[in-house]
Symmetry: D2
Subunit: 294 residues, 4 copies
């Protein structure tokens, strides 16, 4: 899974299943002198839907140039080809590193973790700025060299705050948002206007313990495992397509504070994995669920 | 954790916390020439409650005799002593192996697993009979040397069926029941009349996916982990005190049938662990939760 | 991963990597009116080797017939085609269920576990007989309807015993052997003469604690996890290609007996998973290692 | 496990087992008006050794004062009392936060992780300085407010370098050292002269893959899990008492670089857990092994 040096194209496609799709896709790439590095497909037999992630090095000419324009044209050609098969395709180029924004509040564990992983080269994308409803992480963000925007939010000012957030995102060319323990709910209107993926980390094993204070809920119920869930934010709270989940064992000895401490490690790992997969174009959203080509 | 050869007494006690409880309990045992093998305690700081599991070899005289009567008297003496500290105690003797009944329907994985573990010596108790609303496992039960009772249940005959089950349990001196994928809900009246622990295995990570067809629910929601939960049955379905839980990773590639197959392994492990702990007197029920001294 | 109803062909192929392999393979199948159900490939970038597992439904005509002869001819044709690409291929038909033999000694946990899973329909193959150097499991094997062969082994009689084992395997048409805690080492000569896969379960996380009494070794070293490893047996003890491994947490509280008990669950799960993958033609052995297309 | 507000004493004791030890220890504390918060004991039945960790709030008078001198006197009194039982005891006061030094080279993941956890209040101790044979982490250490000492090491200068390291440790009053991916082997002489615990993180599941480049070794062997091990450093490389271990699943798809990336997360979690336990006085070293009272 190490990054190949030549730029590649990565297509995520899905549509009604029919015989020969694998061969047709592979054939199209081969005819244009591309070389498939990875191809992974899945069939939902119940609903008759075909899913595929295919990554290829375009023709040597294109690859050597590495010109974004050439890659973009090839991507567009693939999308058009997929349409002739009745398939919806999204094609990304490894030469393009998407820009993201981190939304944070006061908790800093996911914030530090994501930025340190980014600086260690773990992500196929970059962070462009930090937006927070508090000022606590301003100095840390700037130490990391990231612009920090303080956008306070109250019930009364929420609409204006979201408008300002959207303006900041557009100004910075942000293509995805990570809610790194951001303690505000984004409105359906914000999500629609932004129109790009928003990844949230919820500190429970969803669908158990949706809503607020999930570690308190878990402690109250006496569960033996606590979890964390990374998902795409949707208009319905804690209900979006799940990207990744994990759990850790707890016992009666653990207080709520212990659950919170243990949960921090879970949240970091689960969110970082979701972000990594998202940026490697491994996550195909389909209805209420995801297909993760890992 | 290997079984000591001399018979031991095991007390589970709890009550309002106050200074000196550990010393008082240890002192009482020491004064009567007992030797503590294990002592494990827990404080619920929030509610100010003290919990302890203590296992000891009573005085050599008692131990050498191994007379149940002597052990029973010592157990009664301890219970009375605990009461003077404001504590509720339940004391079991390792010389007594409780008898249990397996309730099953058609699924046989937990049934075989529990019986083979029992025959391998993993449990500090014995199975006395198998009760089922179907006849599918009759031959297998008899092959294992266990009486099999077919008690069909329909909505109309449920009350009569439960009365017959209770009669069978009493006749066999049954002290605990295991619902090993028994596909009927026991009524609150049955649980009250039986008045002994009933352990159920639910095939999901509770409280997620309570109720019927949890693997279908999990598949529908697109979770990345499926779970199993062993709990004591109470009048409220799937809501009793949780003894043990575990999960296993799944992906979009897994059909509902795959989840069911993978879930079988989880159910076997989780239920067997809960039964083992229960029979080793490691589980203290307290309100809606358990304290498991493992 | 649920079994398709129409018979399928499954090819495992590998050879020097070169552009277009995915397209060539998919194209060959498509041209012959086959439909690819699964195709999974891997590149060893370091050594420049291409690996693929591809499963397809041959042309409807063949599929409807389901004639072994037609499937065999198609398999042979594919193998010849793969050779033209410089690839080595092994092609299996889902219509053929391989026959296996269980080698056991006295420990019965893997023995019961494998047979119960087989009867529950978890394996794409069948067990034909049980061979043991002890008589302890004779009655149980027969209860399951399996022929039981007692072949005692001593240092002096080992060569003769192995000759008899080989004769029994050939007479029963056995295509794979599972060493289900068989406490004898098969000679290099036996493995060579049998010439078919032999799957062993070693009760440690290899390469730690190879050789005898691995749980005692682990206890002595004070490790915090114990493991189990399923691997193909080779002439070098505990050194064959690893198919599957897993571990479980232990503490200082666990005696050697506890490690053995906990290890039994690991051994069952790890061995069963290896057998399942092997029979679904998901395991490609390559040098000292395996590629598992799961 | 949340920290109590009043200062506590924590004793780790061990010695030949004999009846009444639990009662004697609890009695001693009770008579001096102390209140036991936690008491956990273990018996090594094979070797006849008793181990205990007991944490108590000394008499209210002492507790209210919180005077180190009073606590120290009580600790000394307990140690003397334990000696009368034939037990070796080490008693720590929660009022004392030990100072530690981080030894690092170029890899920064454990370095950042430990310091951020320390700042988040996860450890019952403090970091006093960073010592490195490279300068790469100098700026980061200073940003965190920690003195950074560059002590280059070559084969020729090793003795002098270790002498300088010892001088730095003594000057800063360092009571424990953490080798946070420090790529030099400390000599037996250094360990002896320092005479305090040194915790190392080895990037494999020991005893598998001891020595250099363990991820390369693991990749070469084709294991299905990679691990990390935190242990006390001893004169024999990678052979000291193991404190904590964990593993993560890998497949043939993972290159050595992937193993290294996945291993970083393991190393962080395993080392942080070991440091947390060490500082909470939960780790009792005994021969070649540890008893961890978690």
């Amino acid at each position: 899974m190490s990054a190949p040096s030549a730029p590649t194209l990565i297509a995520l496609l899905h549509g009604p299943d029919r015989p020969g799709l694998v061969a047709r896709v592979a054939g199209w790439i081969f005819e244009r002198a591309g070389n498939i590095l990875h191809a992974d497909q899945h069939r939902d037999n119940e609903k008759g839907i075909f899913f595929q992630r295919v990554e290829w090095v375009p023709s040597e000419a294109l690859a050597k140039e590495g010109r974004p324009s050439g890659l973009d044209a090839e991507a567009a050609a693939f999308t058009a080809f997929a349409a002739t098969l009745g398939m919806t395709a999204r094609v990304a180029s490894s030469a393009h590193r998407p820009k993201g924004a981190l939304f944070v509040s006061k908790a800093d564990h996911c914030f530090h973790d994501l930025i340190l992983r980014w600086k260690a080269g773990e992500f196929a994308g970059d962070f462009a700025c930090v937006i927070s409803n508090h000022v606590d992480l301003a100095a840390a963000a700037r130490h990391y060299g990231l612009p920090f925007h303080h956008v306070p939010v109250t019930a009364r000012t929420k609409a204006a705050a979201e408008a300002r957030q959207l303006k900041l995102l557009r100004a910075a060319g942000v293509e995805f948002v990570i809610l790194a323990r951001y303690m505000q709910i984004l409105s359906a209107g914000f999500l629609q206007k932004f129109g790009r993926p928003v990844i949230n980390i919820h500190h429970s094993f969803l669908p158990a313990f949706a809503g607020g204070r999930p570690y308190h809920q878990a402690h109250e119920r006496g569960v033996k495992l606590i979890g964390a869930t990374a998902h795409y934010a949707t208009a319905v709270l804690d209900d979006g397509p799940i990207i990744q989940q994990d759990v850790v064992r707890v016992t009666h000895r653990h207080s709520v504070e212990d659950l919170i401490r243990k949960g921090r490690d879970l949240e970091k790992l689960v969110l970082a994995q979701a972000v990594r997969w998202h940026l490697e174009n491994r996550v195909l959203v389909y209805g209420h669920k995801t297909v993760v080509f890992d």
